[in-house]
């Protein structure tokens, strides 16, 4: 009797024709899983380590010291009148987030295969949770940056209010790449190498270790298509007021990110349907 009263949803299981849909509605239904899965990613990462959260700041700090020494002290690259450590750390902050989110979300499906092959849930949750978990690391590193800035006598102004937007952009761009590669990585493990080496070269196409003012003018238009160029310039602009302010030129890379994100989800959904069969 109870079943006739309530309108139960009918799930139809059949081969998907064409590209299917994005499946965002279902993702929303499973938002609690997304939350707990992200929590799991965060806690499991550090619970077993003696130094725990210290590792989070260690990665950008070591990079900062290396970069300051190699590029600041040896190569003597200009840093727009700002102490080199701060100059490079402001860029390392979003870059480290991007790099980790990309690498780990690309590999996330492969990692979660034991669960994926036994239970159904929207698979999009896996790379999303993997990416979101790195925001915690970002926050902690950000706290360290504030200490560093105080040490050098910098006080960030009202522009820091723009940082959440830049943060979202970084996450969106990392997700776009993660979606594209996560599904493929199950089929072809080569994808992880491509991501690792790709990121390494990509860092040099992004003003992490050097100032964007060094880029020759005739290449600047292409250079500015890179969403991370704007993110890193944005971070420097908001925190130490050295780099390019937000401008209309951002529209194209923003649209590029959005397009890649949608394409990434489609690609991911296309792969996820039969990803279990590839084992």
């Amino acid at each position: 009797m109870h079943s006739s009263a309530k309108s139960t949803r009918i799930v139809r299981i059949e081969p998907t024709q064409g590209w299917g849909h994005l499946g965002l509605g279902e993702l929303w239904e499973y938002k609690d899983l997304l939350w707990f899965h992200t929590l799991k990613e965060i806690t499991s990462k550090y619970r077993q380590m003696a130094l725990g959260p210290l590792w989070i700041v260690l990665q950008p700090i070591i990079n900062m010291i290396l970069f300051s020494f190699v590029f600041g002290t040896i190569a003597k690259l200009p840093s727009e009148g700002v102490p080199y450590p701060i100059f490079v750390y402001t860029a390392l902050l979003p870059w480290t987030l991007f790099q980790n989110a990309c690498t780990f979300s690309s590999n996330s499906l492969v990692q979660q295969m034991p669960v994926i092959s036994k239970v159904y849930f929207p698979r999009l949750i896996v790379p999303i949770a993997s990416t979101l978990s790195w925001i915690v690391d970002f926050m902690i590193s950000f706290g360290f940056l504030l200490l560093l800035m105080l040490f050098y006598g910098f006080v960030p102004g009202w522009k820091v209010l723009f940082l959440p937007l830049y943060l979202m952009w970084t996450v969106a761009f990392a997700l776009a790449i993660g979606f594209c590669s996560a599904g493929l990585a199950v089929k072809y493990r080569d994808v992880n190498f491509v991501i690792t080496y790709g990121l390494r070269s990509f860092m040099y196409l992004t003003p992490v270790a050097y100032s964007a003012s060094l880029v020759p003018d005739q290449w600047l238009w292409a250079y500015k298509l890179n969403p991370l160029y704007w993110v890193i310039e944005g971070f420097r602009w908001a925190l130490i007021d050295t780099a390019a302010a937000p401008s209309w030129e951002m529209a194209l890379p923003v649209a590029l990110t959005a397009g890649m994100l949608v394409l990434g989800i489609y690609l991911f959904r296309r792969n996820e349907r039969t990803v279990v069969d590839l084992l």
Partner: protein, 415 residues
């Protein structure tokens, strides 16, 4: 008036197998292979696979399940049971046909997957429950019940890595059991956990069905299938071989469609080797040599093999084995080696008391030489049906396992 909860129409799943490749003998060939192999995926994208590479794990499967039914699914390994469950629980997509499920489907496939060892029982409960499709507020509401059912309440804030495997399974099952989906899919969970917990699970599954929900139950345990399922499907080679009454389904499965008879004609072995000896008939009898269709537990019985020897044979041995579908090979008996001259013979294996639990057993025989060279070997040569114990229904129903023997017993008051 009510439409079925599950409707499956011509469901099929095709797998494409990898091409077996022989490694090249010379260095150049091997180098060419390893370089060419890297680009093989490109051609694979556009080329239709060869017919021998296609495997239909499931083909043209159609059935319906009504509300409140407990449907058993049985079949040998590779018959397509797991594939069917994977399709219905949406883990992978079908290649052909469709299935419609009214309401939420909850899978209980290998409970405890998705638990993270570093997280506590409490954290894992939330993670696992949401993984199975629950909302946080639903878990909040059922949390105490889940913990109580699992019996690990003392350790709920301890990391799961310190749990015994039994505790993990219990917590996993408790979570899944409180999922309350319209359709519950269960794959071999009862194989784990202690007896007490197994009983709890069976009770819970029965309860689920009583509340008007539907259960799909895959198991190798005919005993559990017999006790739980109102209807059973037998899968063979990816297709539905039988669909109907559980008892009939089990005997179909155990006998693979063979009827129980008292005499089985046996065809000689194939092959080009010279035939030294072959069995031509197998009979199941009582000790007087009368044909016996069913042997009651604890009663005498015998198997007679009629065979023909074509050439003189030195140290000839006949052997008989019994196999239970649910439990595997039960035992093997050998005759002592003898030298035989050509002619027709009969060998009788007899037992004064049959110690097998009620059910069907398949008979396997082999004729061989003393050096174990096989002359004629046939699996599923015949079927032995063992009947319920004669001392009453109530006891007989509780016999489980393969071996049954009423041991001498006596109840004495000691204080």
């Amino acid at each position: 008036m009510s439409s079925p909860v599950i409707r499956v129409e011509n469901l099929g799943k095709r797998y494409i197998l990898g091409k077996p490749r022989k490694p090249a003998k010379d260095l150049v060939g091997r180098a060419r292979q390893s370089i060419g192999g890297s680009f093989e995926w490109l051609t694979r994208q556009f080329k239709e696979p060869a017919p021998e590479q296609i495997l239909w794990a499931l083909k043209d499967v159609s059935f319906q399940v009504d509300e409140g039914e407990v449907l058993g699914i049985i079949g040998r390994n590779g018959a397509g049971k797991s594939t069917l469950l994977k399709l219905l629980s949406r883990i992978t997509e079908p290649t052909a046909g469709f299935a419609e499920i009214r309401g939420k489907i909850g899978a209980l496939i290998e409970v405890g997957t998705g638990m993270h060892p570093e997280l506590t029982g409490r954290e894992n409960t939330y993670l696992n429950a949401t993984l199975l499709g629950m909302k946080k507020h639903e878990v909040d509401a059922r949390f105490d019940d889940i913990v109580e059912f699992s019996g690990v309440s003392k350790f709920i804030d301890t990391p799961v890595k310190r749990y015994s495997s039994g505790m993990r399974v219990r917590l996993g099952f408790a979570i899944a059991a409180h999922l309350e989906p319209e359709v519950l899919v269960i794959d071999e969970v009862l194989a784990v956990g202690d007896v007490e917990f197994q009983r709890k699970c069976l009770g819970k599954i029965k309860g689920v069905a009583k509340h008007g929900r539907t259960v799909l139950f895959v198991s190798h345990s005919m005993d559990a299938i017999r006790r739980l399922c109102t209807r059973t499907i037998v899968l063979e080679g990816g297709m539905v071989a039988f669909d109907g009454d559980t008892k009939a389904a089990i005997s179909h499965y155990l006998g693979s469609g063979q009827e129980v008879r008292t005499e089985y004609a046996i065809t000689p072995p194939e092959g080009s080797d010279e035939l030294l000896a072959n069995v031509y008939r197998l009979c199941i009898e009582d000790l007087d040599g009368n044909p016996a269709e069913e042997i009651p537990v604890g009663k005498p019985w015998q198997v007679r093999l009629l065979f023909e020897v074509h050439q003189p044979i030195r140290s000839f041995v006949a052997a008989l084995a019994l196999r239970s579908e649910a439990y595997g090979t039960v035992g093997t008996t050998w005759s002592s080696p003898e030298d035989l001259s050509p002619g027709r013979y009969s060998v009788v294996f007899k037992e004064e008391t049959i110690h097998l639990a009620p059910g069907r057993y398949s008979l396997i025989f082999g004729l061989s030489l003393g050096d174990l060279r096989s002359l004629h070997y046939v699996e599923d040569a015949g079927i032995l049906e063992v009947q319920n114990y004669s001392i009453g229904e109530s006891v007989a129903k509780r016999l489980s396992g393969v071996y049954t023997n009423q041991m001498d017993n006596k109840i004495t008051k000691i204080s």
